[in-house]
Symmetry: C2
Subunit: 316 residues, 2 copies
Amino acid sequence: MVTGIKNTVRKNLTSDDSLILGIDGGGTKCKAVLMSPDNVVLGEGTAGPGNPVYGLEQAKESIKSSAIMALQQAGMSPRELVNITLGVGLAGVNLPKHYDNIMNWQHPFKQIFLATDLLIASLGAHDGGDGAVIVSGTGSCGFSYVNQKSTILGGHGFPQGDKGSGAWFGLKAAELVLLSLDGFAKPTQLAEIMLAQLNLKNSAELTEKVAGKPASFFAQLANCVFVAADAKDELALSIVKEGADYINTMAEKLMNTHPPRMSLIGGLGRSLFPHLGRRVQHTLSAPLSSPEVGAVYFARQNINGFIPEKLVSIVT
Amino acid sequence: MVTGIKNTVRKNLTSDDSLILGIDGGGTKCKAVLMSPDNVVLGEGTAGPGNPVYGLEQAKESIKSSAIMALQQAGMSPRELVNITLGVGLAGVNLPKHYDNIMNWQHPFKQIFLATDLLIASLGAHDGGDGAVIVSGTGSCGFSYVNQKSTILGGHGFPQGDKGSGAWFGLKAAELVLLSLDGFAKPTQLAEIMLAQLNLKNSAELTEKVAGKPASFFAQLANCVFVAADAKDELALSIVKEGADYINTMAEKLMNTHPPRMSLIGGLGRSLFPHLGRRVQHTLSAPLSSPEVGAVYFARQNINGFIPEKLVSIVT
C-alpha cells in the first residue's frame, strides 16, 4: 500500500522517464499523484471537475491544473510536464466520442495512457492486479478486470440508472417525501428529516428547491434515507432494501467473473455494507490504494506493453 | 364552446377595451387567442417556450410574439398591444419568485392578469366555471377550483415528481429496459420497442442516447410503454398500473373538493383513460375550451372584480 508524501527527501527533482503522473478525473474533482518507480508519492494535486462527458474543456483544464500542482509539490517546474508520462482514468471514455475527444487533445504531457475511471479504480483497489470493484458514490457501477477482460454492469447515469447510488437514494427519498406530503404515500420521518436538512418548511418549498437539480444535489440527500431507516421508518427501510438488493445482486454477478479480490468503494460504501447479504459481505476486501495510484499502475503496465484495455460490456 | 376563427367579418378592428388576449405559456410553446366580448375568436398566434421557470426572457419574448401574431391575424397593428388587456397562465407562478418576475416586467400590454397554467386550463375546460382538471402531458398535475378556492396536487416536476405523466412513463421505461438488458430485471418487449424507436442497437447506445436528456425527451418514450402493455408485456403492464393508479387516486382526491365538472387533459389522457377505475371514468367530462380561452375568461373575471386567485395547496 502506498502511504504518505515523502518529497522532503527529494527536493531538486528533474524530469525522469520513470516518474509517472496518475490522475483520477471525476465529476466533482480531479486528483493527481506523482509517483517514483519505487511507489513513493512525490506530490499530489487536486483541481475542479474532470468528467469530459459534462464539460470537455473544463476536464482538460482540471487535468492540467492538478498535474501542475503535483509537480510543484514535488519541487518541479510546470515546464517539466512535457517530460512526464500521464496515466489518467475518466468517466465516459468507454464511449468512442469521449475517448477520441481526449486522445485528440494537444496535451502538455510526454504521452497519455487513457483508461476508464472504473479500470483505474480497480487497479488501485487491488494494487495493479486483477479484481472487481463496486462503486457507489454520486453514481453507481460494477466493474471487473480479470485476465485482461473487462466487465461493466450498470452505470447508466442519473436519473435513469445508477441504482443504489447516492443520487438514486436522494431521488427516491425526494419522490417519496413529495408523494407522502400530498397524501399519496404513508407518513414518513423522511419528510421531516429532509425538510430540516434543507431548512425548508413544506412541500411547495421542497418542490422549488429540488427543481432542475443535478445528481450531485440529490446525492447529498442520501443520508436522510439511512438516518430514517436507522429509526425504523418503513418507507426509508424499503428504499434501503431496494438499493442494497441491487448492489448485492451486482456483487453476485461480478463474482461470476472470478475476480481474485472485490472491493466496495465510493462515499456510500460504508452505509450500504450492513445491508448486504452475508456472502457478499465476506467476499469484500478493503481497497489497497486510490484510483489515481491505479492510474499510475495503468500507465506503467502500458509502458511495459502489458495492457491493451479491451472494454467488453457483458450482460450476465 | 368557442369554435373557429371568424375574423373575416371584422377586418378593420381597432383597439377595444372589451377585446381580450388570452395566452397559455407552456414548456414547449406559447399559444395566444384574441377574443371579442361575444366569444368570437378574432386571431390566434403560436410562439416558442413560455415557461418562466426554465427561461424568463424567452418566456416574455414568446408571450409578446404570440400576442403580436394574434393581433396581426385579426388585422390589427402590433402597436395596439398597449391598448389590449392580457390574461395569461404560466407554470411556476404559484411560486412567489416567478410570479414577481412576470409582474415586474415592463410589458407592452395595457394590463396583465396573471394566473397559473392550471387555473386557466380549468377555466377553459369548464367554460369559465368551477371544476377540476387532471393534466397528464409531459408533466402531470391535479387541480380544482371550487368557490374561489384552488387545490393543487402533485406537479412536483421531473424527475422527482409528475408521476403518471409522459416523462414519468418514459423514465420508468428507460430504467427498466436498462436493468433488463443488464440482467437485473426480466426480459421485456419494452427493450426492443424502445431500441427500435430510437434506432439503437444495445444498452451502451441507449445509455449514451438518454444521458442528460430533459423531461420532453423522456415523454416521447411514453408510447413504448402503452404499445408493450397492449402486447401484455408484464413489466410494461406494471408501469401502466402504477402510473394509472396514481392518476386515479388524484381524481378521487380532487372529487373530495366537489367540483361540478372534472376533465382529464394533456397528451396522455387518451392512453390513460382505459386504465382508470370505472367510478373515475364516469366522472370525467370532455374539456369545453382550450387553456388560452380559459386565460381570456380569467382576465374578464378579474376586470369584473370577480376573482382574486388565492392558491391554496391542500394536502388531502
